[in-house]
Symmetry: C2
Subunit: 190 residues, 2 copies
DNA sequence: ATTTTAATTGAATAAAAGTTCAATGAATAT
DNA sequence: ATATTCATTGAACTTTTATTCAATTAAAAT
């Protein structure tokens, strides 16, 4: 069964290159021939593995769903501890698995970009964490460990920072990542 | 001289619509016909005002350079005050002039996207603020008002947050913006 | 009023990008 | 060893998107 392995290998190779280019240049700006060239194969071969550019995007999104589900150790003492654990684990994970940051950026791109097929957007949307987060903020505010203010705005501030950091890291992995503590300080009550 | 005014009007209209679509969908994914349709005109007319899609992008980038240069009141007491003033003014400005956030996102897009002509990238690059910021961080650390840590990482954390917030706001102006204080707390020494 | 100039349109054309396919060669099975 | 299956190529074809242009309409100048 050598063929099967090789087939999987090829698909992975294509998807890896595609992810990279989609993140760097955007989906629409990435030509199928770019992907093929970067992966050192002919366009014909690429179409042997994926029936269309859009199907490739679809599979990538589906994988992304699992890829962004990092193995979170999610027992936490309180709401602030939740954010601290999540942040430090995410940062560590981005460093160890550079694909994490790329997937993060890619999924966000899929969510917001108009003209992406609906089924793909829906898959990307299931990564959305903002809603749930607002409740945790509220709960932490009651306990007096998270600062006062509009919970939606607080949650948003935190997630936007995470998003911005992931984006920067995906593009420039050379620039040093922040300490988790700094980011959590956005919402921490002093 | 009605003609001249009208001409300017048209160009502005096209550029405004184009900015909006470029930010939402990305440059490559935005068709000239999309822009024309959204601006209620024929594609032919669009080409009467801009010789190509790329020239339109170029002019937009040039305008963006001025657009992101918001009228900053930049006398500050110390390094932390600098960040506080800058942040609150940027947030206020984004609310008053929604175009600011879009321009911010657009210019960042131009900077990072591969396949954008060099002259355009260079223009976009001159918005880059990260370098200068590192020195301010260092100086503030000496005074003991900015927290300890890698100055590059601190500067990066701050700017990534700003970028993430601008991106979110450009896309979803309905989600409330954070207080400047929260963001500056990323770098503040407690 | 008439002429001139320029705005505007949409269909025609050109260029670019996605997709197919017949032919070739390498691996696997018999 | 031979047959069979499938990976691989690149040129041909199709579709999409950018760009041009001749014709029309509206405004400005004389």
């Amino acid at each position: 069964m050598k063929r099967e392995e090789q087939k999987e290998q090829r698909k992975k190779q294509i998807m890896s290159v595609a992810l990279d280019l989609f993140v760097k240049k955007g989906y629409a700006a990435t030509k199928v021939s770019d992907i093929a060239k970067t992966a050192n194969m002919s366009v014909g071969l690429l179409f042997h593995y994926f029936e269309s550019k859009e199907k490739l995007l679809e599979e990538l999104t589906y994988i992304g769903l699992q890829g962004t589900q990092m193995p979170l150790q999610m027992e936490y003492l309180n709401e602030l501890d939740f954010y601290e654990k999540f942040t430090s684990q995410l940062i560590a994970y981005m460093q160890e698995q550079p694909i994490t940051a790329k997937m993060f950026v890619f999924m966000a791109q899929m969510q917001r970009t108009e003209g992406i097929p609906e089924n793909i957007k829906e898959t990307a949307l299931s990564v959305n964490t903002l809603e749930k987060s607002v409740d945790i903020i509220k709960s932490g505010q009651k306990k007096g460990i998270i600062r006062k203010g509009n919970p939606m705005a607080l949650s948003n501030a935190y997630w936007c920072s995470i998003q911005g950091i992931a984006e920067q890291y995906a593009m420039h992995p050379d620039i040093p990542l922040p300490e988790a503590e700094w980011i959590v300080d956005i919402i921490r009550l002093k």
